[in-house]
Symmetry: C2
């Protein structure tokens, strides 16, 4: 028996009071709207997944699962994990129905994801993420479309294309580059290279040089210079037998769609090992057009994501975009609508005393039946205080019910915005409301 | 390293493929719409809660927490529970800001809840639930409103009031009844009585008589008869010094709102110990107007739900309604809309061969900019197969892009419903689409 319980939420997660929920819904609704404008269909799954789903890729993943996820054993001795990302779940779902589904699929979801880590700004233990994928197409048109969708999510929040940039690269291109130019072919070293490249924007130039030295020793200056080339120059460095047109085609395809804030970045590596082709990331820009280092979203192409389940191979391309970063970005750039849709009622019926509560409920019910939201302020405050509160909450109309109104059946309703008033029988009031 | 992974979800939870997700969204959207028509504001919280939140009520709850919930210890030695119900969470949130919040509050949420139990029809390990509460009002008008909202959720799904009934009772009335008529005052026996009453509809009449005998021995026939009285007769049995008008006022209040499928049921007990006043439950009816035993939702009034957090007492009344039962009900009564909104695109652009993919993406992008959803079928199938698939997914318009269209710049778009066609430059096609 505990005497007095704390009102704190669990560490690293958020409570959504109505004002926070309004922001969250605005973000989710905008995401949905954009994804659906591209014909993406929404799916979902449980946050509970068998832990094996995350361990399938070997010892390194097993370590990740044990150290960075919420994993526990249920009473049936099953090991369960709270999903840390959506991709394994959607791969499982696609594999389960691979024979019935008509590919290519355009699927999106807005799952909550869990990571066991020290809470810090922008990195909570639970966050929501927009996940969009095209499954079952190798066409470069899929790469172009997914990046165009990522771009459009930013635009649909009111951002303009001077406030962010899309960095693109190609994992296969980089693998070939390191093989051709530096003789690096060992997959473990390639992984190390990718991690090094990922740090470029997080460390000083001198530190980055130091990291490059660890990989290519004396050639670090050559490598650093080559990483700064533009896409045509960079591709030209490579063995011409290989086809490296994909990256250029993606860039040109985006230009055709009038998406111009795209730059090639040979040091863009993206952490996940499952990417095999196009990779991309959107970064916030400051007023001088320089990256602030804030990453808005990232994604890429993967081959045969469903291989671990057996069956026909399914490739795809997709991205993920988090709610915490999105909200921070919207606040930084003043892009949150000033009056987020309050779901408090449009019409507030105010009983003068509790004696009139039930009659007032009847009036509110009649108003609702016309399709207009209405509620009765059954609080014990004075009517004047109730008026102030109704206006605070965004009510558009007020009507006060006292003994007089009940006796006469004549009500007065006021438009609090225009000040206009209407007095009459309930039927007349309803007419007034529905024609306003 | 695992050779081949199962595609099964975790036991007792659901995957939501787009067709299931469309049903789920229809249910959630209808719930939201109804709650918001009453001016309820939406909130949410994390599924992770400190386990103490559920243990606060003593040993019995501790047992419930250990045996029926997902509870585990995190790496910081904190005991965490996946929320099995929303009420403790919302009580915590209300208590945390009790000084700032303007009562009465009308709050709703659609949380997912977790119970560790054997999965069976209608009882999964994870389900979603509409939760609606009015906090901070003792007025009987709040009881009437919350029941009216519960009623309206059924109506807004297209149910009519011959398909369900609202059973109401009052916990305080029953406590007084057992004290006055049978001398039962021991809280533990009252709990036993409530559990017995709850079984009335789940056991045979003879079994129920047997259970009543355990409580009141020879008086079981008298008790059984009294449980069948109507509300006025029942209240008349009681010590008149006590005020038992609440139940009658609730019933009359609902009648004033033209809600007539309400019946008093002295054997309605509701499982939860925290109810203290009005309790209610909605049951499905068969064609003969008899209860099928399917409970659609239940709720009631509680005093000072926030007591365990200290501070000012806050009372309230609310209910919860599950998605699994709701979907079953809608399917049984054929109430699911035939064409649930597909989020596949309205316009499908079909490239004749992959060569036209990127051009087709450009056309789709221009269409989207007019506010109409559009996607390009970049699959490798023949154009005829793509047409069939587009229509299957509910597309309204099709346009095919071959080499000819690219050369001439002249496109043809077809309305697949009316068969109407339009041929012209892209600008003309966009005009046609936006004026259709």
């Amino acid at each position: 028996m505990i005497d007095k319980l704390s009102t704190d939420s669990y560490k690293g997660v958020r409570d959504f009071y109505p004002e926070d929920m309004a922001v969250q819904r605005y973000i989710f609704d905008t995401w949905s709207k954009t994804a659906e404008s591209f014909g993406f269909e929404r799916y979902d799954a449980s946050i509970l997944e068998p832990s094996d789903l995350y361990k399938a890729k070997g010892a390194e993943n097993e370590e990740m699962v044990n150290e960075q996820t919420y994993t526990f054993t249920d009473r049936g001795s099953r090991e369960v994990t709270l999903r840390p990302e959506m991709t394994p779940t959607v791969a499982r779902m696609v594999a389960a129905k691979a024979r019935e589904l008509a590919f290519p699929l355009r699927w999106y979801s807005i799952p909550n994801l869990f990571r066991y880590e020290r809470p810090q700004k922008g990195r909570l233990r639970e966050h929501w993420q927009l996940n969009c994928d095209i499954f079952g197409s190798d066409s470069v048109a899929a790469d172009v479309e997914v990046i165009a969708l990522a771009y459009q999510t930013m635009i649909d929040f009111g951002a303009n294309d001077t406030q962010f940039e899309i960095r693109i690269n190609n994992r296969q291109l980089m693998t070939d580059f390191f093989a051709d130019r530096y003789g690096i072919v060992d997959p473990e070293i390639i992984t190390q290279v990718n991690r090094t490249l990922d740090k470029r924007r997080k460390v000083t130039k001198a530190e980055f040089d130091g990291l490059l030295k660890e990989i290519v020793r004396d050639e670090y200056e050559k490598l650093r210079d080559e990483l700064n080339l533009n896409v045509e120059e960079f591709v030209a460095l490579l063995n011409t037998e290989r086809n490296h047109s994909t990256l250029i085609n993606v860039k040109n395809g985006l230009e055709q769609l009038e998406i111009k804030n795209v730059i090639f970045d040979a040091s863009l590596a993206r952490g996940f090992d499952y990417y095999t082709g196009t990779i991309f990331e959107i970064f916030e820009l400051d007023n001088d057009g320089k990256s602030t280092g804030r990453s808005m979203l990232g994604g890429g192409r993967y081959d045969n994501l469903t291989s671990m389940f057996g069956g026909e191979p399914v490739s795809g391309i997709g991205f993920g975009m988090g709610d915490v970063t999105m909200r921070d970005f919207l606040e930084t750039h003043n892009l949150l609508p000033e009056h987020l849709k309050s779901t408090a009622a449009e019409v507030i019926v105010i009983p003068m005393t509790p004696e009139e509560n039930l009659f007032a409920q009847g009036v509110a019910q009649k108003i609702r039946q016309t399709g207009i939201s209405a509620s009765t302020d059954i609080g014990t405050q004075k009517a004047d205080k109730k008026k102030v509160r109704a206006i605070d909450r965004g009510a558009k109309f007020l009507t006060i019910i006292s003994e007089d109104e009940i006796k006469s059946g004549t009500l007065t309703i006021r438009n609090v915005v225009s000040g206009e008033e209407k007095t009459g029988q309930l039927e007349e009031i309803l007419n007034f409301l529905t024609t306003e």
